[in-house]
C-alpha cells in the first residue's frame, strides 16, 4: 500500500516535470465585467530562457495579484487581465517578428525583452506599428523611444554611483580599475561611461577586456587582469549570465580574491546569480542594484514571500530584474486606470507621473519614460544575500542621455512635449 502510494507520487512528479503552460489567465473568484489580454514576450527557450523565465513568472504573479484584487478599474467597470505568452527563443529577429504579430493581434501592451539586442530589434517594430513595450532590465541608455517604457536602471542609476563608491568608499578605494564585460552594447557603453567618469573624478583605469558571447573561456582575460593589476584593484564586471560563473570560479583559483585586494563590482550579479555561482565564490564582492532581496521593509518581504508561494519553490529568490518586471505591470495598470482607456496614446500621456509603491520603495515614471528610483550598493555575504552598505539618499532621476558621453552631454528627452523635446533635445 505504502509502496503503491510512493509510485503514484513518483508518477505525479514525473508528469509534473512536463512543461506545457503557455497560455492562460490569472485565477480569482471575483466576477469581472470585462476582460483584456496583454502580451508577454520573453525567451522561453534558448540561452536567455534561463533568465527570462523568472520574469515571465513575476509578470504572471503581478497579473494574478491584480486580478485577485479586482482587476483593472476603468470608469467603474472591472477588467480581468488575461495574458498571452510568446517565446522569443533567444533569437533577436524572432523577437521582432513575434512583437509585430502581437501588436497586430491587438494586445494593448507587451511586457518583454531582456537583452539590449532584443530590445533594439523590437524597437522599430513598436515604433512603426504604434505598439507599446514595457522593458524591465537595467541597460546602457542612449535611447529614448516614445513606444517603450523602461523600468530598469539607466547608467546614472547603477554604474555611476557604483563607480563612485568603488573609488572613494569601498575596501579597494583608490586602487586602479579594470573593466571586464561580455562583448555587446551594454558592457561597451557602460564601460565607456565608466572610463569617462573615472577621468572626471580622478580614478585610474588600466585595462578593458571583452568576452565574446558564445565563449566561456575566460582564461586569457584573467591573464590580462593579473598583468594589469599586480597588487589588487577594482574590477568592474559586466559579463553576461553564464560567463560570470566561469569568471568568478577561475579568478578565485588564480588568487584574484578580496583577501588579496581584488574587489569585483558587478552590474549583472543579482541574488539569482549568487545562488547559481555559489556564495563561496562571490563573498566580499560588490554589486549595485535598485532592488535587493535583503531590503528590510514589509513590502520587500511580502514580494519575496509571494514569489516563493507563486512559484511553489521555497528556495526561489527575487532580484532586481524581477522587481522591475513586477513594477511595470503595476505601472501599466495605474496608467490605464488614470487614462480611463486602453488606447495607447492616452495611456502614454497618463503614464508620465504615475507612481507606485514598489518593493524597493516609491518609484515614479519620469517624462523620458524611465523611472526615478534609489540605488543600493551591496556586498555579497556568506548566506548568498547582499549586505546593503549604502542606499542613495535621494531618489535618483534617470538620464537616458548620459552626461559622461561627449555626444550626449547636455541632451535630455521629454515625451510630454513630443514635438520639441521628444527623443533627444538640447537642454
Amino acid at each position: 500500500m505504502r509502496i503503491s502510494r510512493r509510485i503514484l507520487a513518483g508518477l505525479a512528479t514525473a508528469s509534473l516535470a512536463i512543461t506545457a503552460t503557455s497560455c492562460g489567465g490569472g485565477s480569482g473568484s471575483a466576477s469581472f465585467d470585462n476582460e483584456i489580454t496583454v502580451g508577454i514576450l520573453h525567451s522561453l527557450s534558448g540561452v536567455m530562457s534561463i533568465s527570462e523565465k523568472t520574469l515571465v513568472e513575476t509578470e504572471k504573479m503581478a497579473i494574478a495579484e491584480i486580478n485577485a484584487a479586482g482587476g483593472i478599474n476603468i470608469n467603474g467597470e472591472s477588467y480581468k487581465i488575461n495574458y498571452f505568452v510568446e517565446d522569443g527563443a533567444s533569437n533577436w529577429p524572432l523577437f521582432a517578428e513575434k512583437a509585430g504579430q502581437m501588436i497586430d493581434a491587438g494586445y494593448p501592451v507587451i511586457f518583454g525583452g531582456w537583452t539590449s539586442a532584443s530590445r533594439d530589434a523590437m524597437e522599430p517594430v513598436f515604433e512603426s506599428k504604434k505598439g507599446f513595450l514595457y522593458y524591465p532590465i537595467q541597460y546602457e541608455g542612449r535611447e529614448c523611444s516614445n513606444n517603450i517604457m523602461y523600468t530598469g536602471a539607466t547608467p546614472n542609476q547603477q554604474s555611476e554611483p557604483a563607480t563612485d563608491f568603488m573609488l572613494n568608499r569601498s575596501e579597494a578605494a583608490g586602487k586602479p580599475f579594470f573593466l571586464v564585460g561580455s562583448d555587446y552594447v551594454f558592457p561597451r557603453t557602460s564601460n565607456s561611461i565608466t572610463k569617462a567618469q573615472l577621468k572626471a573624478i580622478g580614478g585610474e583605469w588600466v585595462g578593458e577586456e571583452y568576452l565574446d558571447l558564445s565563449s566561456n573561456e575566460v582564461g586569457p582575460i584573467i591573464a590580462k587582469i593579473k598583468k594589469a593589476l599586480p597588487r589588487g584593484g577594482v574590477i568592474i564586471n559586466t559579463l553576461n549570465g553564464a560567463q560570470n560563473v566561469a569568471f568568478f570560479k577561475q579568478i578565485q583559483d588564480e588568487g584574484i580574491t578580496p583577501e588579496n585586494g581584488y574587489y569585483v563590482m558587478s552590474y549583472s550579479i543579482a541574488e539569482e546569480e549568487i545562488k547559481t555561482i555559489g556564495p563561496e565564490f562571490l563573498e566580499g564582492h560588490y554589486a549595485a542594484w535598485n532592488y535587493m532581496m535583503a531590503i528590510d521593509t514589509p513590502a520587500s518581504k511580502t514580494f519575496a514571500k509571494n514569489y516563493k508561494k507563486f512559484t511553489k519553490d521555497p528556495d526561489a529568490v527575487v532580484a532586481d530584474p524581477q522587481e522591475s518586471a513586477y513594477n511595470m505591470v503595476y505601472l501599466w495598470k495605474a496608467a490605464v486606470e488614470k487614462a480611463g482607456t486602453f488606447e495607447n496614446a492616452e495611456v502614454r500621456k497618463a503614464l508620465v507621473g504615475t507612481t507606485f509603491d514598489a518593493p524597493q520603495g516609491p518609484i515614479e515614471v519620469m517624462p523620458n519614460h524611465h523611472i526615478s528610483q534609489k540605488v543600493r550598493i551591496g556586498q555579497v555575504n556568506s548566506e548568498g544575500q547582499f549586505t546593503i552598505l549604502e542606499t542613495s539618499d535621494d531618489i535618483i532621476k534617470p538620464q537616458t542621455w548620459n552626461q559622461f558621453i561627449k555626444e550626449d552631454k547636455g541632451f535630455a528627452c521629454d515625451w510630454t512635449d513630443p514635438v520639441n523635446k521628444g527623443q533627444k533635445y538640447k537642454l
Partner: protein, 398 residues
Amino acid sequence: MNLKNLKAKNYIWAIISFLIIIMPFIVSVSRLKILGKSLALGIVALGVDLSWGYTGLLSLGQGIFFTLGGYAIAMYLQLNSSIGLPNFFSLYDVKSLPFFWEPFRSTYFTFFAIWLIPGLLAFLLGYLVFRNRIKGVYFSILTQAALLVFYNGINSQQKLINGTNGLPTPNTKLFGYLVGDPTTQKFFFYITAILLLLSYLFCKWLVSKRFGRILIAIRDDEARVRFSGYNPVVYKTIIFTVAGILAGISGALFTVQADLISPQYLLPPFSIEMVIWVAVGGRGTLIGAVFGAFFVRLFASLVSSAVPGAWLFIQGGLFILVVTVLPQGIVGWMNENGPKTLLIDISLKLDNFEKNFKLLPLPLKNLIKFLVKKSLTFSKKSITYPKLDHAGKEEVEL
C-alpha cells in the same frame, strides 16, 4: 494517365500562383512577412539541394553566404537613410565610416554585392577545398569551422558592423520608401515570390542538362567521374558557387522582411536547419527543397508559438526520421510509390501480427488490427492503388 497527371499538376501550379497573388490582400502584414521569409528561405534551400541533394556536398556553412547577402542590403539601407553615419556607430565612438562600407552607398554596387560577394567567397572556398580533395564529412566540418570564423568575426566587431546587435532595417528607406511600411512589405513579398520562381527555373534548367547528371554521378562515385575524364573540382566549384549566390539573394530578401540581420544567422543550428528543409522535402528534388523550406519553417513558427520548446524536439525527431526511415524525403517518397509500399508493408505485418506483438494488451491489439484492416480496405477501394493485391503477392514471393 500521364496527361491526367499533367493536368493535375497544372491545377496545383495555378492554385499556388493564385494564392501567392492574393496573399497580401488577405493576411495581415506580420503574417505576410512570415510567408515572405519562408519563401525567401526556399531560395537558399534550392542551393543546399543543388550542393547536397544532387552533388553530395553537405555544407554546414551556408549561413555565411546568407548572412553576407543580408548584411550587404542592410548596410546599404542604413547608409542611404541616415544623414551622416548610421546611428549605431555613435554608440561606439566611431567617427568615420570604415573604408569597406564606403562602396555600399552605391545602389549598383550593392545590387551586385548581394550575390557576387557570397558567390566569390563560395568560389574561393570551394575551389581550394575541392582542389585539395577535401570531401565528405571533412568538407562539412571545414565549412562549419568557416561559419564559426565568420560568426566570431562579425559578432565581436561592434565598431565595424554593430556586432551582436545586427543591423535593423524597418526604419530605413529603399528608394524613398520606408522598408517597414506595409506597402513596401507587400512589394517585397512579390519580389521574393518572383525571384524564388526564377531561381527554381534556373536550377531546374541547370539540372535538366547533362550537367545535372554529372552532379549526381559525382555524388555516387566521384573517383569514377574522374576516371571517366571529367574534373569534378570544376563541377563542384560551380555548384557550390551557385549555392552561395542563391544563399546571398535569399539572405537579402529575408533580411528586408525580417527587420534585422544579426550574427545569430551565423550560428551552426541555422545552417544545419537548412539541411532539414531539403531533407524533409526530398533531397535531389528541387520542388521538395522549396516546399520543405516553406512548410517546415511555417510549421516551426506555428509549433513554437503554441508550445515553446517543443519545436526542438520535433526538429530533432525530423533529423532522425529523415536519415533512418525517410531518406528520400516526402517528395522522393511519393515519387517512389512510398504510400503504396507502406500499405503493402502494413498488410504483410498484419499477417505476422500475432507473432510480432505478443506482449501488447488485448484491447490495444484489437484496435490496431481494426484500424489497419479499415485503412487497407479503404485503400483497396481507392483507384490510386488498384494493383495492391497483386503487388502484395509479389513482395511475398521475393
